[in-house]
């Protein structure tokens, strides 16, 4: 119970600091009436919570699926596909507020379908090892095409594409928040329903089958739901790395490996981490802004190094 209260307090602090802090100084008494707060900071904070949460849960479930605790939501090629879609939209000067997110979403779904198809090697069974390799291959391939397009693009386009690839929440609006609020419950519910059988899958596919899990449908559901979460996150905020890798690890240290507790903890932990990272991205170099993916990487890589050491010494 204490740890849930602690997590709740962390999320509250993260939300409050995201709303209070920013390049424009707003007195505490004016927060409620400020247009900046109402139409920029609040939707942005909520989007950070939803995106960070989605990445946390997607990471935790994919680590269980590919049975590798070092898996990351973007390891399965989704970021490559989304990046290609986004860069194409920028290069082709597609207009409209939804052109970029939709192109990125389409690219992520394309990559997901391709990786899934490649993962179904030799028939009906989804092999997580092949899935992982297919993800790396698809990611590398779409990354090559993306770089080719970027290298031929004009300077202004290039900067836009580069910033997008490192992730950012500056496109946040009440509309994007609404889209996420409507969209993410379904994959989240699907993953939560898979929480117990995922505990079994940690023993291996055959032992999980003997304990009563339908392993093949389970793997498919988890892959599709986690990919849909990641695709939505990448569509509204670009490629934000390390949240989906680090957060499940830290929450496992506190909540254990059982996915019923792990998923909610990873959701709010991911949300809190992205909120802090985004606040730092907005405040540290104000009035300019860092891509939030740079902040999560700068914080995430050292943290990851510490976790790897722990992993090595546990024996």
């Amino acid at each position: 119970m204490t740890r849930w209260l602690g997590l709740g307090a962390l999320v509250a602090i993260a939300l409050i600091s995201a709303v209070v802090l920013g390049p424009a100084h707003i007195a505490l008494g004016d927060l409620a009436s400020s247009e900046i707060v109402r139409s920029l900071r609040v939707p942005r904070a909520l989007l950070a919570l939803l995106v960070g949460g989605s990445l946390g849960v997607a990471g935790a479930s994919l680590q269980a699926l590919v049975r590798n605790p070092l898996a990351d939501p973007f390891l399965l090629g989704l970021s490559g596909g989304a990046g290609l879609g986004a860069v194409l939209a920028i290069a082709l000067h597609l207009a409209g507020p939804w052109a970029l997110p939709l192109a990125a979403f389409a690219g992520a779904l394309g990559a997901m379908a391709l990786v899934y198809r490649l993962g179904l090697v030799g028939g009906a069974q989804l092999d997580p090892r092949v899935l992982l390799l297919a993800g790396v291959a698809v990611g590398a391939f779409s990354g090559a095409i993306t770089t080719a397009i970027v290298s031929l693009a004009e300077a202004a386009d290039l900067r836009n594409a580069f910033l997008w690839l490192w992730g950012g929440l500056s496109g946040a609006s009440w509309d994007t928040v609404l889209v996420m609020v409507v969209y993410i419950p379904l994959p989240l519910v699907v993953l939560y329903a898979a929480a117990r059988p995922l505990d079994l899958l940690a023993l291996g596919e055959e032992p999980a089958t003997h304990l009563g899990a339908d392993v093949e449908p389970l793997k498919r559901r988890v892959y599709v739901a986690a990919s849909l979460l990641t695709a939505a996150a990448v569509a509204v905020s670009g490629v934000i790395g390390f949240v989906g890798l680090i957060v499940p690890h830290i929450t496992r240290l506190v909540w254990g490996h059982r996915h019923r507790a792990l998923f909610p903890a990873a959701f709010f932990g991911g949300g809190a981490l992205l909120l802090f990272a985004d606040t730092a991205a907005r405040v540290t170099v104000a009035p300019r802004e860092l891509p939030v993916g740079i902040v999560t990487a700068l914080v995430g890589v050292p943290l990851f190094a510490v976790l790897l050491r722990r992993w090595g010494t546990r024996g």
């Binding site: 059988p197 291996g204 304990l211 009563g212 899990a213 339908d214």
Partner: protein, 268 residues
């Protein structure tokens, strides 16, 4: 005395792996009834594990039928089946660190509803399973701190937490020393005698199978070499033919025991 209906019934099953030149299993029959300890013996690659997979509906036989508790094996959902049959497979992974009680609780999965939490009945079943396997003292230990013999007892406890009628054990004493191997066989025999469990055990221990099992199926190259009570199956001729090694058979405690012979000097 009328015998209870078999829990596991494989009738004249044949199976060939896709692309394989020959049958992995050919015309093999096996019945395991409540209160019966049935051992399956045979050299490496003789089809023992394939027989388990066919009998449990994980592989569809090319010929013959496989039934569990009177229903075709393929007709069971994995979840329903896990309440009737528990399996201790040869190997499993430990991806994430777990404590003993947690891993035994996984055995309750087929009894839990989709959204519901564990009920007191589930916790009671876990404690009962730990007691039966003499593993209560291990309940709060981490899995990676257990010895090989303790670990196998915990895995057996998880299988018992499923509250099955039939227990399938695939080489449960591989790599255990004499004491832990004997403890495992004594434990399984006690479960059969006290709780009427049906047991199908794959093992390489010819002598322990002869002393503990009620019936023995001896497989050779996917075919039945002999089947029945240990003293009928384990004759010198049959054992020498199946394992391709000279042996002597001597009775001990009324059961046949096999002693492998040294090869004569001139043929060495």
């Amino acid at each position: 005395m009328t015998r209870a209906a078999p829990l596991l019934s494989a009738q004249r099953v044949t199976y060939r792996y896709p692309g394989a030149p020959g049958d992995a299993l050919h015309d093999v029959s096996l019945e395991v009834r409540p209160g019966e300890f049935h051992a399956v013996l045979g050299p490496n690659g003789s089809g023992k594990t394939t027989l388990v997979r066919v009998a449990l509906g994980l592989l569809t036989p090319g010929a013959g039928t496989a039934e569990l508790a009177g229903r075709p094996a393929a007709a069971w959902s994995r979840r329903d089946l896990a309440r009737v049959v528990a399996v201790v497979a040869q190997r499993e992974d430990n991806l994430f660190p777990q404590q003993v009680r947690e891993t035994v609780l996984l055995g309750r999965y087929p009894h839990l509803s989709l959204w519901g939490a564990e009920r007191p009945a589930d916790r009671a079943a876990v404690t009962r399973a730990l007691e039966r396997c003499d593993a209560v003292a291990l309940a709060d230990r981490w899995i990676w701190t257990l010895s090989g013999g303790e670990y196998q007892r915990v895995r057996l406890a998880r299988a018992l937490a499923q509250e099955p009628s039939l227990l399938v054990l695939d080489e449960p004493t591989a790599s255990l020393d004499v004491r832990h191997e004997m403890e495992m066989f004594e434990l399984v025999r006690a479960l059969v005698d006290r709780h009427g469990l049906a047991v199908m055990m794959i093992t390489h221990h010819v002598n322990l199978a002869a002393r503990f099992a009620d019936r023995v199926l001896l497989l050779a190259a996917g075919r039945t070499a002999a089947q029945g009570a240990p003293e009928a199956v384990l004759s010198r001729e049959t054992v020498e033919r199946v394992f391709a090694w000279p042996v002597a058979i001597a009775p001990f405690d009324g059961r046949p025991q096999m002693i492998p012979l040294r090869q004569p000097k001139e043929s060495a």
